[in-house]
């Protein structure tokens, strides 16, 4: 009785919390197999731990899939890891145009796990150590 009660309560807690895990975040919530490019304008920039976040507004334009248009929440890594890849607090600011490649949320909501940003000169600013299989040293 004691052991099963213990396990029961733990399982209940896990189940209850798992139900709400769909709300956000974990990189297991993103479709890590899909690399999608987004072009937009930065409307919010949060250079902070534990995750750097920025919001980009993708305009409804000709040639752009309507589902792509809107406000996307881009999630990066910690300040410490991103700094090592070349990011700084000043990498982007509100109003800057931005091109990024990332992994969208599995459930279709407008969240992106950042893979890399593409600088105006075409070089890449990676989020962490991961590189695409076909990476060309840029």
């Amino acid at each position: 009785m004691t052991l099963s009660r213990r396990l029961g309560l733990a399982a209940a807690a896990l189940a209850l919390a798992s139900a709400s895990v769909r709300a956000h975040h974990s990189f297991a919530m993103f479709d890590m197999d899909k690399d999608v490019e987004y072009r937009g304008v930065v409307s919010e920039w949060k250079w902070q731990n534990p995750h750097v976040h920025f919001i980009i507004d993708v305009k409804q334009e000709q040639g752009v899939d309507p589902k792509m248009a809107g406000r996307w929440d881009v999630e990066g890594g910690s300040i410490n890891i991103m700094t090592r890849q070349g990011w700084t607090r000043a990498s982007y600011k509100i109003g800057d145009p931005v091109r990024i490649v990332g992994h969208p949320m599995k459930d279709g909501s407008k969240g992106i796990s950042l893979f890399y940003a593409i600088r105006p000169d075409g070089t890449r600013l990676y989020h962490d150590i991961a590189r695409p299989k076909d990476d060309v040293k840029k």
């Binding site: 896990l14 974990s26 297991a28 919530m29 890891i81 599995k106 962490d128 150590i129 991961a130």
Partner: protein, 157 residues
């Protein structure tokens, strides 16, 4: 890395709830490990004087159980996202401290277990036991620290 393109890696990683569940289990495992091994280490360091070592050793199966949970969940993390760990210096440090703790424990079991079990429980512990206990306690907390610092000192996640 080639591991990530294998079907098993993708299949596991596609289960959205698996990663958070493994993390929770990993934390529970570490509490079991540090609780059980910690009491033995503190006893070896000379605290809890009067408590016979054989009583403390009754917790070893639980400490080992905690370690086993963490080895399994750790193995799953590695299988799902190997590049985040194998390319991270902090992770190799974590692994190194696990090895130190393990070797230290093996040394205790093979060379010092009999003296520990036969020593006077009311006296102070001999220096050799203090060192083993200290190395163990330090190592496990170093493992914990390295693990927690992976998203900051590591290369990703």
């Amino acid at each position: 890395m080639w591991v990530e393109s294998t079907r098993i890696s993708k299949a596991l990683f596609a289960m959205t709830w698996l990663w958070p569940a493994c993390e929770s289990l990993h934390f529970m495992g570490l509490c079991m490990l540090i609780g059980g091994a910690g009491l033995l280490d503190l006893r070896l360091l000379g605290l809890f004087r009067g408590l016979h070592i054989r009583h403390v050793k009754a917790l070893m199966p639980w400490a080992i159980g905690g370690f086993a949970i963490n080895a399994m969940t750790g193995g799953l993390f590695l299988l799902m996202q190997p590049h985040l760990y194998l390319s991270s210096a902090v992770w190799w440090w974590k692994f190194t401290f696990i090895a130190i703790a393990g070797l230290n424990a093996a040394f205790f079991e093979t060379r010092l277990a009999i003296p520990a079990l036969t020593m006077d429980p009311d006296g102070d512990t001999p220096v050799a036991l203090k060192i083993v206990g200290g190395v163990s306690l330090f190592s496990w907390f170093a493992v914990l620290y390295c693990g927690r610092m992976l998203p900051y000192l590591g290369t990703g996640n």
